[in-house]
Structures are given as structure tokens and as C-alpha cells.
């Protein structure tokens, strides 16, 4: 694929432009095309997909720190517990009492998950999608810029509702909110009500975003950009949007039923009136399993871009990647029952869900091998984003393989609700989603800000996070197999050493996160804009439109809409 950018006065059939040639007039000569406010009003009133994308990313970053602080509470409690045999392992910190009460510990668990899922990972990807989908398809903005801003702002009250619910006894029923634990009988506080409304607002935001992306990519691709010329990141966002569009309303529906049960006195999940708590799980996981893919697919896209860029090649098997992503999305809607193997289900249904779950390993394998084939024979540059992408492949494969373990019904019944499951999901969500978000941050930071993040410090941060991540989550496999239960504030004495080791791993990750925040702030304040159109020097092989504009791009992205041939 090559890109032709029509020059002023030329006929539109100009020759392919050499990658290093500047195409844009300098900023001061850019015609003033639209009104813009200054200061805080500029952010409150913006409909520019780039500014909205940046706000999503900052929002996700701070939510990740909030969720990380909750994880810190969990780790502190588990490093300094009162053990089940009564041993006081708090090292004298809290006069013989546990740091967190059992109820508070459960609230920390529920809010940690809710924050990381709804306000860190999903908005993190939404940030990149907002910023880069219009750039990559050669559009000036999203199809519905105002709705785009609206969808972002909705996340703020949503997050506020959830975080404020701590003051009113927030949900101790976990992020899954299983009935009957989340019904009014067992969770009488208004925390669960606030949590449900928080989900509603985040859900509306997510549905609006999904509609916007689907329409944008369907109607606003640059002339000549056929569907199968669209970069992989756009494909993954498109497929993710379809999943969010179909799945999120079901979540909204099921939490609405929970809400009417709590506030109006209906009996959807009340067995005494013929309702069924198990049905809550079915409907909840019908959304929340696809949500797993909603939280990883754009990451696949980012990794594909990074891998190809720093191998100096095209991504291997472009169409295969697209089909594999679509296949994952379709199967992803048919496997929710594997979260409920131990909850009670007909044997044939278990066999079906187990088989379908293992089937997902096939398209996922297609993707992993395509990335490996992309590396094969390439001239690999070990930049920081590339290190995150390579780290992602290793970690995500571990998470994928333990996922195949868990798809086996007999094995799953054994390790259900143990730390093995916690280890698996963090290898997928941290080793998968978060690694790709961090990789994407380093990869696209020069484009978004015009400045480079420090490579040397970036490598130190990478190793902190990579090693810390493994130190935290790898031992969870072992203590899970040995029988340590999740979501409980205490445990048997033999797990004490391992839990303290895990908490050390958390501190290492925290150090990495703080250094990253510091580095980003320092770079934004103190460094000069030095990045050119193609800061990594990759566009001679990549031919993607994000590297064809200034860094950062002008409000209108492209002075002339590119034409793809």
C-alpha cells in the first residue's frame, strides 16, 4: 500500500512521496481554521478527537493509580495478616488487629477490579482509539465529535459514583456483583446502588463510543482506503466496538434488574419468589466474558504496529490477523459459561463451554505465531515500545495457556476461586492489556506530544514493571494450586512467605509506575519538541498515516486529505 498526498496545484495523481520529506507548512502558517478557547475552557469545550483522546489517557492513568492504591491496600493486608491459626503476622503495626476489616478488604477487591476494568483499561484503549483511529484512516475527526466529548465526560460522574460509594459501604460483592450477595438482604448499604449507576453511566459511554467508532471507520476512510487496507489497530478497534455495542446493553439490562430488585422490590434474583441467582451469572458473563476481549483486542492492534515497526517489516499475515480477531470476537460471545463451571450447570453445557473456550486458543495462536513470524528475519530494534511488545507476547502466552488449563472442567472445578484464577486473569489483563497500553504510550508519545520519553529510564521502568509483574503474579499460580482462596482477607500460615514475596513484587511495579508518571510529567514540562513527522523512522516500511502528519498533529490532522493507492 502506498499513500499519495496531493500537493497544492498538482493533479491528484502525484507520485509516492519519500518518507522523510516534510509535507506540512509550519504551524504559524497554518490557516486559522476554527475557533478555540484558552485554558481550562479549551478542555471543557473541545470536540477534537486528539484532545479527547489525551483526556481519556490521563483519566485512565490516574484511575490506574487509584486502582493501584487499592491493590496496595490488598497487598498490605495480605503481607501483614492475622493468620487463620491466630498468629499475629502484622509485625506489631496495628496492635493485633488486621489492617483492613474483612468487609473493607472485600470492598477493596471489588473496587480495585471495577476501577481497573471500567476506568483504567477500557478508557486507556479508548484514548488511543480516539487519538489514532481518525489519524490512521486519514480523517479529520470522528463522525460525531460532540457525542465523543459527551462519552468521555460521562466517565467522570461514573468514576465519582464508584469512588464515593466507599463512604457509604461500597460493594463488597466484588466487581461481578453476584446475586444474592449483592441483593439488599446481604448488601443493605447504598454502595451497590451507586456502583450500579456507575456501571450504567460507563456503559452508556461505552455504547456511544462504539457507535462512533463503527460509523467513523465505515464512512470516513480516506479515498482509496479499502477495508483491507485499513491498519490493524483500526480493525481491532472496529471489532472491539461491535463487541461493546452488542454486549454492554446486556450488562446494563442485568444490573438494571438487580437495581429494581434492590430498590423497587422485584424478584428477578430472589429464589423465594421464583427468581434465580444463577441467572444473574449467566447474563452478567454474557457481557463480561466479551469484555475480556474488549479489554485486549486494541492491544493486539497496538502490538502489531509496534512489532512491524521495529522489525522493519510488514506485519505477517495481515488478513489472517483480521480474520483471527473477528473469530475471537464471535467465539467470545459463546463461552461465558466457563466462568460458572462450579456454579451448577448441566454436564453437556459444561462440555460445550469447555470445548468452545479451548477453540479460542486457535485464533489466538494464529496471532501469536503471526507476531513471531513478523519478528523472523527482521532487523529488530530494541526500543522501549518494542520491549513492551515482546514482553507482552511472553506474558500473554502464559496467561493464554493457563486459560486453556481453566477451560478444562475438572481442573477448573479444582482451582475455582483460588489464586490460580487470580494469576491467570492478571497475566491476561496486566501482561496483556496493560503491557500493550504502556507499549502504546511509548510508541505514540512522540506523536502525541512532539517529545521523546527517555529511552534509558524507559528501559529501567520496563524491567521494574516486567519483573515486578512476574514476581507478583507467578507465585499466585503456586499458592493457588496449593489451595489459597481468593477474596479472603486471611489465609493459612504456610502461605505467609509467598504472600510477602508477592507484596514485594507489587512495590517494584509501583516504583515503575511512579517513575513513569514522573518521566511523563518531566518530559512534558522540560523537554523541547524535537519529534518530526516520523520520529521512530519507521514509515518507509510501515506506510501508516499517523506518521504522515506533524507531531503533534494540527487540529485538522492533514492539510490535504491523503489518497491511498
Amino acid at each position: 500500500m502506498s499513500i499519495i498526498l496531493p500537493e497544492p496545484g498538482s493533479d491528484a495523481k502525484g507520485a509516492a512521496r519519500p518518507a522523510e520529506a516534510p509535507i506540512y507548512i509550519p504551524a504559524e502558517e497554518t490557516p486559522h481554521l476554527h475557533k478555540e478557547y484558552k485554558g481550562i475552557l479549551r478542555w471543557l469545550t473541545t470536540v477534537d478527537h486528539k484532545l479527547i483522546g489525551v483526556m481519556y489517557l490521563w483519566f485512565a492513568f490516574f484511575s490506574a493509580f487509584a486502582g493501584g492504591a487499592l491493590a496496595g491496600g490488598i497487598r498490605a493486608q495480605l503481607a501483614l495478616p492475622i493468620l487463620t491459626d491466630g498468629t499475629n503476622a502484622t509485625m506489631g503495626l496495628n496492635a493485633g488487629k488486621a489492617l483492613l476489616s474483612p468487609e473493607l478488604f472485600n470492598q477493596f477487591i471489588g473496587m480495585h477490579a471495577s476501577f481497573m476494568i471500567f476506568f483504567a483499561i477500557i478508557p486507556g484503549f479508548a484514548g488511543f482509539s480516539n487519538y489514532f483511529v481518525p489519524l490512521l484512516i486519514g480523517a479529520r475527526d470522528m463522525a460525531f465529535p460532540k457525542m465523543n466529548a459527551f462519552a468521555f465526560w460521562l466517565l467522570i460522574p461514573s468514576a465519582l459514583l464508584m469512588i464515593c460509594s466507599f463512604a457509604f459501604g461500597s460493594t463488597g460483592a466484588g466487581w461481578t456483583g453476584y446475586a444474592p450477595l449483592s441483593t439488599r438482604t446481604y448488601s443493605p448499604n447504598i454502595g451497590v446502588d451507586m456502583w450500579i449507576f456507575g456501571i450504567h453511566l460507563a456503559g452508556v459511554s461505552s455504547i456511544m463510543g462504539a457507535i462512533n467508532f463503527i460509523v467513523t471507520m465505515s464512512t470516513m476512510r480516506a479515498p482509496g482506503m479499502k477495508w483491507f487496507k485499513m491498519p490493524l489497530f483500526c480493525w481491532t478497534v472496529l471489532i472491539q466496538s461491535w463487541m461493546a455495542l452488542i454486549g454492554t446493553p446486556v450488562l446494563a439490562g442485568v444490573v438494571t434488574m438487580l437495581l429494581t430488585d434492590r430498590l423497587i422490590g422485584t424478584g428477578f434474583f430472589d429464589p423465594a419468589r421464583g427468581g434465580d441467582p444463577l441467572l444473574y451469572q449467566h447474563l452478567f458473563w454474557f457481557y463480561s466474558h466479551p469484555a475480556v476481549y474488549i479489554m485486549i483486542l486494541p492491544g493486539f492492534g497496538i502490538v502489531s504496529h509496534i512489532m512491524a515497526s521495529f522489525s522493519g517489516k510488514h506485519v505477517f499475515g495481515y488478513k489472517g490477523m483480521v480474520y483471527a480477531t473477528a473469530f475471537i470476537a464471535i467465539i467470545g460471545f459463546l463461552v461465558w459459561g466457563h466462568h460458572m463451571f462450579s456454579a451448577g450447570m448441566e454436564p453437556w453445557l459444561r462440555a460445550y463451554f469447555g470445548f468452545m473456550t479451548m477453540l479460542i486458543a486457535v485464533p489466538t495462536g494464529v496471532k501469536i505465531f503471526s507476531w513471531l513470524a513478523t519478528l523472523w528475519g527482521g532487523s529488530i530494534r530494541f526500543t522501549v515500545p518494542m520491549m513492551y511488545a515482546l514482553g507482552f507476547i511472553g506474558l500473554f502466552t502464559i496467561g493464554g495457556v493457563s486459560g486453556v488449563f481453566l477451560a478444562n472442567v475438572p481442573f477448573d472445578v479444582q482451582v475455582h476461586d483460588s489464586y490460580f484464577v487470580v494469576a491467570h486473569l492478571h497475566y491476561v489483563l496486566f501482561g496483556g492489556s496493560v503491557m500493550t497500553i504502556l507499549g502504546g504510550t511509548y510508541y505514540w508519545f512522540p506523536k502525541m506530544s512532539g517529545r521523546f520519553l527517555d529511552e534509558k529510564l524507559g528501559k529501567i521502568i520496563f524491567w521494574c514493571i516486567f519483573l515486578g509483574m512476574n514476581l507478583t503474579f507467578m507465585p499466585m499460580h503456586w499458592i493457588g494450586l496449593a489451595g489459597m482462596a481468593r477474596r479472603i482477607y486471611t489465609y493459612r500460615p504456610e502461605f505467609l512467605d509467598m504472600n510477602r514475596l508477592i507484596s514485594c513484587g507489587y512495590l517494584l511495579m509501583l516504583a515503575g509506575g511512579i517513575m513513569l508518571l514522573g518521566n511523563i510529567l518531566y518530559t512534558l514540562v522540560a523537554k523541547k519538541r524535537t519529534a518530526g513527522n516520523d520520529p521512530w523512522g519507521v514509515n518507509a516500511t510501515q506506510h501508516t498515516l499517523d506518521w504522515e502528519t506533524k507531531s503533534p498533529p494540527a487540529p485538522h490532522n492533514f492539510d490535504r486529505l491523503p489518497k491511498i493507492v
Binding site: 496531493p6 477534537d48 462512533n212 423497587i264 486529505l561
Partner: protein
Amino acid sequence: MSAAAHEEEHIHLPEPTIWPFILVLGISPLPVAAILALRPELPLHYLWPAILGFGGFLTLVGTLGWVTMVIREKTTIDQTWGNNTLTMAWKLFLLSEAAIFSAFFGHLFYTMYHAESRAILGNTWPPIGTPHIALSIPALGTGVLVASSITCELAHKALLRGRRAAAKNWLMFTLILGFIFIGMQGYEWGHLMSYFGFTPSSSYVGTIFYLITGFHGFHVITGLLMLFVVYARMELGSFDRRRHFSMNAASWYWHFVDVIWLFVFFVLYLGIQPSAH
């Protein structure tokens, strides 16, 4: 090429606007008001009307500001190209609405399927103790809604042929039929509640019956509001043959509500008839 060349002459970037932010400011207090209103035991329960009023007011301001801005844009910039994207977005929105209904119907199907193993339902479907809901009113309602779908389509067709007066008349018929439907639904609810004591909290059937019919009724009212806005805009002379997205959108929404009702009637109402099995 022509698209690119056209684009070069003038680049339209959407103007910055505060309305989305204001609208979110207005929506934010609404959940708080809802929780306070439905939880009389809370200390600040009495504040809910004030919070609801404040949020509702800001929501209204935000919505009106947004709509005014869109209409102004439409009159200053030729945005017929945008109808394409709006049409697509509207279809996707209806798809997501269908997904919400499918969650409710999924609940109903699952419970019907498992009824025979559930002692609390009397091991049968419909469960023991379900009142006999007469089919006369909902059957009549089905006829009314289907008829209103037809009149709505006739209004659309008339508009396409440029016959505005006829379009307005057909639209008025549609509105009247919609109001008749809502009236019948309200009568039926009142009858069931007062005569049978059949409420959302009385049994599983009550729960699912009132949720599905209530959620559907809410959509009927929303659809009526849309049709009303379309009627008002026709009165103001806003549409022409080429540009009448609101008419399209409202009529699709109306057909959607109609189709959902067919499911409600044939699955829910017929499903809880004593003679159904």
C-alpha cells in the same frame, strides 16, 4: 479524487462546544436523586426533589443548547452528507436497544425453560397463582400499534412525495394511535394492580411482566415524543424531500417499538395464559 479536491476548498472542523459537558453535569445528580428517592430510610431522603430538579434543569438546558447548536450548524453548513452517518448510527443504536430487550427476554426464556424443576413456581409454567390476564386489551393494543406503524409509514411516503399536508395528517393519526395504546396499557396496569393485587413484587411473573411492559411502555412514550417533535418541525416547515433525517429516525424507532411489542404479546402475554400449555 473528487472527494479530496472538494475537501481542499474548505476544511470544516466542528466548533468547540460546552453543551456535552453541561449535559453531563445535569445527568450526574440524577442517580443520586434516584437513590435518595427510592430509599426513604436515608437521612437526606427529603432532598431528592431538589436534586432531581437541579439535575433535570441542567439536563434540559444542555439538551436544548446541543439541539439548537446542531440545527444552527445544519442551516449554515450543507450537511446532507452527514445523513449517511446519522442513519448508520441510528441503526446501531436500535441494535443496542434490542440487546437490552434480549437480556430481559433471556431472563423470561430461561425461567420458562427451568420452571418444571422449580418448586417455588409450582413446577409448572405459568406458575401457580398467576392471574388470568385477559387477552382482549393487549390484542387490541397489538392492532393499534401495527396500525400506527402503517400510518407512520404512510406519513413518511407522503413526505417523500412532497405532500406535506398528507404527511402531517398521517403523523397525527400515528400520534393518536400511540396515545390510545399508552392509555390502554395504563388501564390494564391499574386493573391488574387494583383488581388482582398483581404487582412487581408479588411473584416472578409480576416482576418480569411489569419490567418488560414497563420498559416497552417507556419506549412507546419516547417514540411519541420523537414523533411529536417531528410533527412540530413539519409545522415549522423544516423538512423537504431530500433532508428529513428526524422523520426517518422517528419512524424507524416507532417500527422498532412495534416489533418489540409483537414479541411482548406473543411471548409474554400468550406465554402466561393458563391455556398456553
